[in-house]
């Protein structure tokens, strides 16, 4: 018997809300949105933790510019703080090495992190996810009970189809969907037209920001960028 599952509820008992950021494909902006929402919520006075579950290509540490930090050990793993938010990532343990993981390894590593991370009191635990409806989505559903899902879409037809699959799956399982953020909006094209029929909230749209790249690695710059400020408005609507 694997003992780790039995401790999960206790590990998450001081976490008030879990927001899992999912969406269509890779590259739609899930990681950047997760980080920017988390930073904004923390600036609004909430206690925020970020969990990077994109285990083979984690990004949050890059976005937060989190170099040279490592968790403390104190009857579990205490996530270190960067820019006012707690960050848990497998990057502490893989360093910059490629770490090829297959499905069961992904689940095992996810469970290991969930069973041993001591979050403390947290108002928002924001979870950055890999694209689509794979292992991590299933693991969040079974192991992070009570998660609310935030869906990132963008105007491309290529993204739309996968986003619809995510919405259908979550709806079928009767899981809470906070709503859709449409990212990288350019011109008139929008995916929301096709999504509005699913009866879920529209949280807002973000245009394509040419110089967003400059803010990666600099949390203050990210917060004060057009992208960050727009997500501040969306964050206020999540409270």
């Amino acid at each position: 018997m694997d003992p780790r599952v039995s401790i999960l509820d206790r590990r998450l008992c001081e976490v008030r809300r879990i927001i899992a950021v999912t969406g269509g494909k890779g590259g739609v902006g899930k990681s950047l949105i997760t980080a920017a929402l988390g930073l904004n919520l923390s600036r609004l006075g909430f206690r925020v933790a970020l969990l990077d579950l994109d285990l083979t290509s984690p990004s949050l540490h890059i976005i937060l510019g989190a170099d040279d930090i490592f968790p403390e050990e104190e009857k579990g793993i205490i996530p270190p703080e960067v820019a006012g938010v707690k960050l848990m990532s497998i990057i502490y343990f893989t360093a910059r090495n490629p770490s090829p993981l297959r499905g069961p390894d992904i689940s095992n590593a996810t469970l290991e992190l969930l069973a041993n991370t001591i979050w403390g009191e947290v108002d928002f635990l924001m979870v950055d996810m890999p694209p689509g409806v794979g292992d991590v989505m299933m693991d969040i559903i079974r192991w992070m009970r009570g998660s609310e899902f935030l869906i990132v879409s963008n105007p491309s037809k290529l993204v739309l189809e996968t986003v619809i699959k995510v919405i259908k799956l979550l709806t079928e399982l009767d899981l809470p969907i906070l709503g859709v953020i449409e990212n990288m909006k350019r011109g008139e094209r929008s995916s929301w037209e096709k999504l509005s029929g699913f009866g879920i909230p529209f949280l807002g749209e973000l245009p394509y920001f040419e110089d967003l790249e400059d803010a990666i690695g600099d949390p203050e710059m990210l917060l004060s960028s057009g992208f960050g400020r727009r997500l501040g408005e969306i964050a206020a609507g999540l409270i």
Binding site: S6, F93, N97, L113
Partner: protein
């Protein structure tokens, strides 16, 4: 330490299992400890015994905890080669990282024969509960095993 959080998980799982099986008392807990996770057995055992009192109440007070080590054996998915974790050498940071999360062994270990990072862990990953023994009701003193 990791030993404490894992010990907490073991005790929580034993309590869950005892409740599921309707045991009034748990008499023995066999915990298997895989070599890959490199638990410090003394710390782990101490933590288990401390926590059993703190969380277990009367169900666990008489439970004897037995730890059994299990060698970590890896098998290459590319060439089929099998090898033991105890037979290879890593640096201290790498051991520590694998202790925290055994799957990150894929970042540091390669198949000794073909250099592939694509290997399976056959045995000895981490902590598991092999079985618990306990008694149901006062009149029936017989022990039963619950794998």
């Amino acid at each position: 330490m990791h030993e404490w959080s894992m010990a907490e998980a073991v005790i929580a799982a034993v309590i869950d299992e005892a409740e599921r099986e309707g045991l009034d008392k748990v008499t023995e807990i066999m915990v298997r400890v895989g070599g890959l996770q490199q638990m410090e057995n003394e710390v782990f055992e101490f933590a288990l015994n401390e926590l059993k009192g703190a969380y277990g109440g009367s169900i666990l007070e008489d439970a004897r905890i037995i730890l059994e080590r299990e060698d970590a054996v890896l098998r290459c998915r590319f060439c089929g080669n099998e090898w033991k974790f105890s037979g290879i050498r890593l640096c201290e940071d790498e051991y520590e990282a694998i202790h925290f999360c055994p799957e990150v062994s894929h970042a540091y270990i390669r198949c000794p024969s073909c250099k592939s990072p694509d290997f399976d862990l056959l045995t000895g990953r981490g902590v598991s509960i092999a079985w618990i023994k306990g008694v149901k009701g006062e009149e029936d003193g017989s022990e039963s095993e619950h794998p």
